[in-house]
C-alpha cells in the first residue's frame, strides 16, 4: 500500500472539514469505549488477565526462536507447508506461486491486516487473479477502491447512503430499494456466497499461532474467515512471527482480551483453531494448506526499544479511545495502521522520514495505554520516536532551535526571571482591554485558532520576591 503519512496534516484538515464523517467518528469515539468498559467490568478481574497475558507474551518473545521452531514442527506434522518470508515481496510472491501452481483464478480472502501491509491484492491482481475480500467492511472498501479506516471496522467511515450507491453502481442486479442496512448485508451475502463456493484458494490471517500443536486461531463474527478456511481446496494462512503463543489456553486468554476490547462481546460468533488439510475422517476442508510467516522488520523491532509494540493484538481499542484518531479518522494516517498503534508501527515498518508527523499526533493523554489489553505503553513509545526524530533532526529546524533556546533560558534562571519579569507585564498591557490577544508574533500556531489569554501582569516570582519571601537557599 502506498504510504501518504507525510501528508498527515493535510489529510487531517480535510477530515475535519467533513461534518458528516466527523460526526460518525464522534459517535464511534463515544460508544465503543462504553462497550469496552462495560465488558471489562463484567469480566471481573480484567486487569489480572491483562497482566497475565503480558507475562506470557514476555516469556514467548524471550524464547521466540524456540516457539517458532516448535510451531513449525507441529504445523509440518499436521500436514501444512510452512513458508518464511523476510519481506512483503517474499510473502506476495509465495502466495502468487501457490495460486499459480494450482492454476487458480479466484481467491477469497478473509480480513488480514498483514496482507494490507504487503499490498497482496495488488500483486495478485496484476498477475491476473480475481481477489475478493469477504469481510463485509473489507468488501465495501475494496469495491470503493479505498483503504481501511479502522483495523476492526474497515468501512465504518462510510454512510449507508454511500454504500447503497456503491452497490447500485457495482452490482448489476436491476431495480431494488436497498434502503436498510439489512438489505446491504443480504445483497453482499448473496454475492460473496458464490465467491466462497467458486474460489480455488482461500486466504486468511491468524489472531494467534499455537506453538504446542501448530494450529492457528481465527476470531470473527461474520464467519467469512471460516468459510475461506473450509470451502476452497487450497488454504493459505498469512501471518507474522509475533502472533505465536505457547498454548491453546494462552490463545484463549488473548481472545478474551481481544474481543472485549474490540467489540465488548464475551466471545465472537466464531473462534476457530485450524490445524491443516483434510484428515481421513474429514468430508470437507482444504486439501492443501500453507502457512506463511512474515517477518517484515519484526525481528528488528524485537531487538529495538520498541519491542513491546509486537504485543499488539490488533483490537482497535486504542483507536476508539484516541481523541486524535476520533478527530481525524484512519485515512489521515496515510497507511495501513492508524491511531496510536499505527503511529508507532508505521514509522517502524516504513520509515520515520515518511511518517514523522505521526509520533507527534499525540497529546500523551495516556488513555490508550490505560485500556490497551496488551499493556503497551503507547505514549512512551511515541515519545521515544519523537526523541529519535529529534536526534536524527527530522523535526522542523525552527522547533529544534526554539526548544534549545527555551532550554538554555531554563538553565539560566536569573536571566529567565529577569526577562519574563519584563515581558509579561508588556503582554498583560497589550491584552488589557480584551483580557486576551487575538494575534501574537511567533505564536501563529496558537493564535490561528485560539485567543491568547493575557498574563495577569508581573510574574509570580517577581511579585513574591518583592514581598521578600522567596527562599534563596534552604538553610
Amino acid at each position: 500500500m502506498k504510504i501518504t503519512s507525510d501528508h498527515f496534516l493535510e489529510h487531517a484538515d480535510a477530515a475535519l472539514a467533513d461534518p458528516d464523517k466527523a460526526q460518525r467518528r464522534d459517535l464511534l469515539g463515544l460508544f465503543m469505549p462504553l462497550a469496552r468498559d462495560a465488558a471489562a467490568a463484567r469480566y471481573g478481574d480484567f486487569e489480572a488477565l491483562r497482566v497475565h497475558l503480558k507475562q506470557v507474551r514476555r516469556h514467548t518473545m524471550e524464547h521466540l526462536e524456540h516457539y517458532l521452531t516448535r510451531f513449525e514442527e507441529e504445523a509440518l506434522r499436521n500436514g501444512n507447508q510452512v513458508h518464511f518470508a523476510a519481506t512483503p515481496e517474499q510473502l506476495n510472491s509465495t502466495v502468487l506461486s501457490i495460486c499459480q501452481d494450482h492454476g487458480a483464478r479466484r481467491v477469497a480472502k478473509g480480513k488480514s491486516m498483514v496482507t494490507e501491509e504487503t499490498a497482496l491484492n495488488d500483486h495478485l491482481q496484476q498477475a491476473g487473479l480475481d481477489v475478493i475480500e469477504t469481510d463485509l467492511g473489507e468488501y465495501i472498501i475494496q469495491q470503493a477502491g479505498e483503504t481501511p479506516s479502522h483495523i476492526v471496522g474497515p468501512a465504518l467511515h462510510k454512510s449507508l447512503a454511500e454504500i447503497r450507491q456503491l452497490f447500485l453502481d457495482r452490482h448489476d442486479l436491476g431495480e431494488r430499494p436497498l434502503e436498510q442496512v439489512a438489505d446491504i448485508v443480504a445483497e453482499a451475502r448473496g454475492i460473496l456466497r458464490e465467491q466462497f463456493l467458486q474460489a480455488e484458494v482461500g486466504i486468511i490471517g491468524a489472531n494467534a499461532l499455537v506453538a504446542e500443536n501448530g494450529s492457528t486461531m481465527l476470531v470473527t463474527n461474520e464467519g467469512n474467515g471460516d468459510l475461506c478456511a473450509n470451502l476452497p481446496p487450497v488454504l493459505i494462512v498469512c501471518t507474522t512471527l509475533e502472533r505465536i503463543l505457547p498454548r491453546v489456553e494462552d490463545a484463549m486468554a488473548l481472545q478474551r482480551l481481544l474481543v472485549r476490547s474490540a467489540t465488548g462481546q464475551p466471545q465472537t460468533s466464531y473462534t476457530s483453531f485450524y490445524s491443516g488439510p483434510q484428515r481421513d475422517d474429514d468430508v470437507d476442508g482444504p486439501l492443501e494448506t500453507h502457512i506463511i510467516l512474515l517477518d517484515n522488520k519484526r525481528t528488528d523491532i524485537l531487538a529495538s526499544d520498541y519491542s513491546e509494540i509486537l504485543d499488539c493484538i490488533r483490537c482497535g481499542a486504542c483507536l476508539n479511545h484516541c481523541p486524535i484518531y476520533v478527530g481525524v479518522g484512519g485515512h489521515a494516517y496515510g497507511w495501513v495502521y492508524p491511531g496510536p498503534m499505527g503511529s508507532v508501527l508505521t514509522p517502524l515498518l516504513t520509515s520515520l522520514e515518511q511518517s514523522n508527523d505521526l509520533p507527534n499526533a499525540c497529546t500523551s493523554c495516556g488513555r490508550c495505554a490505560e485500556i490497551c489489553p496488551a499493556n503497551i505503553p503507547l505514549p512512551d513509545l511515541l515519545r521515544d520516536l519523537r526523541q529519535e526524530e529529534s536526534q536524527r533532526q527530522l523535526n522542523s529546524p525552527r522547533w529544534r532551535r526554539g526548544l534549545r533556546v527555551h532550554a538554555w533560558f531554563l538553565r539560566h534562571p536569573a536571566l529567565y526571571q529577569r526577562l519574563s519579569g519584563w515581558l509579561m507585564p508588556v503582554l498583560a498591557w497589550l491584552g488589557k482591554r480584551r483580557g486576551s490577544l487575538r494575534t501574537l508574533p511567533f505564536a501563529a500556531g496558537w493564535t490561528g485558532t485560539r485567543d491568547f489569554p493575557a498574563p495577569e501582569g508581573g510574574t509570580f516570582m517577581r511579585q513574591y520576591r518583592k514581598r521578600g519571601k522567596v527562599r534563596r537557599r534552604r538553610g
Binding site: 518464511f84 469477504t134 467492511g137 468459510l227 512471527l241 484463549m252 466464531y270 474429514d282 468430508v283
Partner: protein
C-alpha cells in the same frame, strides 16, 4: 547460495534474543511457562453452570430450548423446523449420536452428510458448552463437517447438560482428554452466536455470511425455571 528467508529470520531472532535465551534449555522454558499458570476466567452471570451458559447464549443472540431427553429433542427440532421452514428437512453430520435419535417420531427427515449451499437448517451435536462465554464446541470430521456450521440459514445445536463446563480452560482440559496427542482434528470451532456483522453503520445484522439464527437445545433434565432465570439475567445485563 542466497540465504533462505527461514535461516535469515532465525539468525535475526537469535541475535535479538542475545546469549541468555539461547542458553536456556527447552526444559527450563517449559518450567518458566508452567510457572505462569493460566488466566482467571470471567465471572459467571449465575452460580449454576447451565443457567450461566444459557444466559450467555441468549446474550450472544442465540435462542435456547430445553429437552429432557433425546426423544424430546427430536420433537423440539421438528417443531422448530416446521415453525421456521414449514418442512421437516434437516442436514446433519454422520454423528452416531444424531443417527440414533428417533427422528421418524417427529416426521423429521435428516440427510446425513455435509451441508450444501441452499440448505435451510443444519444440526450439530456439540461436544461441549462453555458457560463463561455461552459458546458451544464442535470439531470437524464426519460427525460434523466444518461447513455444516457455516452454510445453513439456521444452525441448530444439541448439547448435553453434562457437557457444559464453566470456563474456557475447563473446555480445553476436556478437549485434551477426548483428543489424545496425534488425533487432533482439522478444525476446532467455538461457536457463540449467529453469523453477524456491524460493518455498516455499526448496526448489528444477523446472517452476514452464515447462519442467521443459532438455536441451542440443552438436552437433559433442566427445570423450566432455569431457562426463565437465564432470560431474566440476560435482560438485566444486556449484551
Amino acid at each position: 547460495m542466497a540465504e533462505s528467508p527461514r535461516s535469515e529470520i532465525m539468525a535475526r531472532l537469535r541475535a535479538a534474543a542475545g546469549a541468555s535465551a539461547s542458553a536456556t534449555t527447552p526444559e527450563q522454558i517449559a518450567r518458566e511457562l508452567a510457572a505462569l499458570g493460566f488466566a482467571s476466567a470471567a465471572v459467571l452471570p449465575a452460580a449454576d453452570t447451565c443457567i450461566a451458559f444459557m444466559a450467555n447464549v441468549l446474550a450472544n443472540k442465540g435462542s435456547v430450548e430445553l429437552a429432557a431427553d433425546r426423544a424430546e429433542a427430536v420433537r423440539v427440532v421438528g417443531r422448530y423446523l416446521y415453525n421456521r421452514f414449514r418442512t421437516h428437512k434437516l442436514v446433519a453430520g454422520n454423528d452416531p449420536r444424531i443417527a440414533a435419535m428417533p427422528w421418524r417420531d417427529a416426521g423429521v427427515l435428516p440427510r446425513f452428510g455435509a451441508a450444501e449451499n441452499g440448505d435451510g437448517a443444519a444440526l450439530s451435536y456439540a461436544r461441549l458448552g462453555v458457560a463463561e462465554t455461552g459458546a458451544v464446541v464442535t470439531w470437524t470430521g464426519r460427525a460434523n463437517p466444518g461447513r455444516n456450521n457455516l452454510l445453513p440459514e439456521d444452525h441448530l445445536v444439541l448439547i448435553n447438560r453434562e457437557d457444559v463446563v464453566a470456563t474456557l480452560e475447563d473446555a480445553w482440559l476436556r478437549i485434551r482428554q477426548e483428543l489424545p496427542a496425534g488425533s487432533w482434528p482439522r478444525g476446532i470451532n467455538f461457536i457463540a452466536g449467529p453469523s453477524s456483522t456491524a460493518d455498516v453503520e455499526a448496526q448489528l445484522v444477523m446472517g452476514a455470511h452464515g447462519p442467521r439464527r443459532w438455536h441451542v437445545i440443552l438436552v437433559g433434565a433442566t427445570p423450566a425455571e432455569a431457562l426463565a432465570e437465564a432470560k431474566v439475567l440476560t435482560a438485566a445485563t444486556g449484551p
